[in-house]
Symmetry: C2
Subunit: 342 residues, 2 copies
DNA sequence: CTGTTAGCGCCTTCAA
DNA sequence: TTGAAGGCGCTAACAG
């Protein structure tokens, strides 16, 4: 075998002495085709290892059966897990997925969007970059009639469907838990506040403090990114403050890991000197020492639900579209990093 | 704006009263086109937010500018990081990437392959599933003239290019290091041995023992998967053996994490009772307690190099093709889990 | 039930 | 420098 060429319906038609239309029908078991012809065609197709050229199909059906996904960073566990959910749902419906990473860059996100539009994806699933303030590129997508669903990094600037978790509630519970184990000077490593979900976590934190008659002390709220290094830097700053906090609620697990390193480096004990809680429940949170209290997010389900929402929209008439908003529940996971103070 | 339709060169041609051929030429700055016409076309294209339909382009050029990737599991840090490398290299060359997960299933891998072929990817980057023994689906791909590169999970059953790391050497060094800190009963949590790279790690481990005049004791070699739970189960078995090992070299970091949990659960100390080493150098290895000695792999670079190798093949005449084999270096990272015994 | 015909959006000779 | 025409592989009327 040295077939550098792919088999087409034309080849099948020639070998079987029928028209290409007949082949096309047989392959897609259209109702009006004789069983014998169909059998004959399918057998030859299998023998020749024929596979339809999806590109040609897409061109004529005007559907690529491809979903485009834009995320900030695939290496972040939350996103790789969400993508698994997206792919599972997509595969079940016969769709493929093209993934683009914005690397938290607005420019890259715009470029990604264009690429996906050029590739004629049937719909778009997006977690916007941290930098993104202007949503014109997504408006363009909508104007072209391409369904769009935001997940996790959502916003209300555009009338599109979204899937998110109850970040406010999760943060509230984590903070309330820290209070319940006896902490009174609770600091927060806050995420970039132009991202709504991080703002919601901040609000949940603040409201929990107030609901328990604890002061919201601005100096205990430190701007922080979402990588380990960010947690390291933010915690260094935080531990220069006096009096020291007796607890830290970090915006995400990675930031919490960074905090953990610095707290230990300073010779302080977790949770005795400083209790610590994170957000997301990455697998390793159970493994670090002490194990990390955190807020569990259904990462796979977020991806799954987003894809379902998009697929649902894809299957309906465009004019019947009404934006949906799905909020998934989080769950507080209590571990040793917040064990009750003696 | 409510344009549900996408702009085509036909629209541009009509508005400008020129032929579609002229538009096509202007857009792709062909040499024979007047500067004025070109300028006129480009301006209108921008104004109307025209973007070429890549599907139509692919159909006629017979190149999709899409690279297909098949990996076992995107949630594994190694793979998500490798994918970042792949995407970076692909993007630089103007290629897109479609990722499929086999979930370690042979059947799924075969299905993935078909999907990607149907989508007329220009080339394929593959880390085969754990189950895969039969490579006929990849032979089919090669017979269709689609370039193929194996990375990480490579094998020598097919004459294709591959990118791997020096697994043997990495395992040898890790084991030699354990010996150098005074361990003499070194166990190995071995990966699935039908996967060549895991076999190489086993061989590196065994050869290091022999080179240092230590016996290779079969009961200290435990079959293990590559997830945390696998490490847990394997270590449970291992710690029933007497005498207990005084060190464990785990096939990967996740298995090492599982081992770490069980060792602690048994009230044994790391490294004093049992030293521990992993493989890959996932970010969290530095964070667990004690921090984990491991063998660092250039995960991003593996992806990058694989993509480069494929792109290189794509740019050359098929008949000039000679399979390449690139082996990247690993590096031993010594941390507290193997601190010298007092 | 099957064949003919016309595109989908674009590229690419071949003429003009 | 530009236009006309054919075709990439497939689907979808429309006839027969």
């Amino acid at each position: 075998l040295k077939t550098t060429e792919q088999i087409t319906i034309k080849d099948l038609a020639r070998q079987l002495n029928v028209s290409i239309a007949t082949i096309s029908r047989a392959l897609r078991d259209s109702p009006d085709i004789s069983p014998e012809t169909k059998k004959m065609v399918l057998e030859l197709a299998k023998k020749l290892d024929y596979h339809p050229n999806s590109i040609a199909q897409s061109l004529v059906t005007r559907r690529s059966r491809i979903i485009g996904v834009i995320i900030p960073d695939i290496v972040i566990h939350f996103y790789s897990s969400a993508i698994s959910g997206i792919q599972a749902a997509a595969a079940e419906a016969g769709y493929n997925v093209i993934i683009c990473q914005s690397n938290e860059s607005y420019q890259t996100e715009v470029a990604n969007t264009q690429t996906l539009v050029s590739n004629r994806v049937d719909g778009l699933l997006v977690s916007v970059s941290r930098e993104t303030q202007d949503f014109a590129h997504f408006e363009t997508v909508m104007n072209k009639g391409i369904p769009l669903v935001f997940f996790n990094r959502v916003n209300d600037k555009l009338p599109v469907s979204r899937v998110e978790v109850d970040d406010y509630e999760g943060a509230y519970q984590a903070t309330a838990h820290l209070i319940s184990v006896g902490c009174t000077r609770i600091a927060h490593l806050a995420g970039p506040l132009n991202v709504p979900l991080f703002r919601k976590r901040l609000e949940g934190y603040m409201d929990a403090l107030q609901a328990h008659n604890l002061p919201v002390d601005e100096q205990y709220i430190i701007a922080c990114g979402i990588r380990i290094e960010d947690g390291v830097a933010a915690t260094r700053k935080l531990l220069d403050i006096s009096p020291l906090p007796d607890a830290i609620f970090a915006v995400c697990d990675s930031a919490a890991f960074g905090a953990m390193m610095i707290i230990k480096e300073r010779g302080l004990r977790i949770p005795d000197d400083i209790a610590l809680a994170g957000f997301t429940n990455e697998p390793v949170t159970a493994l670090v020492e002490p194990s990390l209290t955190t807020v569990s997010q259904p990462t796979f389900d977020i991806g799954w639900a987003s894809a379902q929402m998009l697929l649902d929209q894809l299957s309906k008439e465009p004019h019947t579209f009404v934006p949906q908003d799905k909020v998934l529940k989080t769950q507080l996971i209590i571990r040793n990093s917040t064990a009750r103070k003696q």
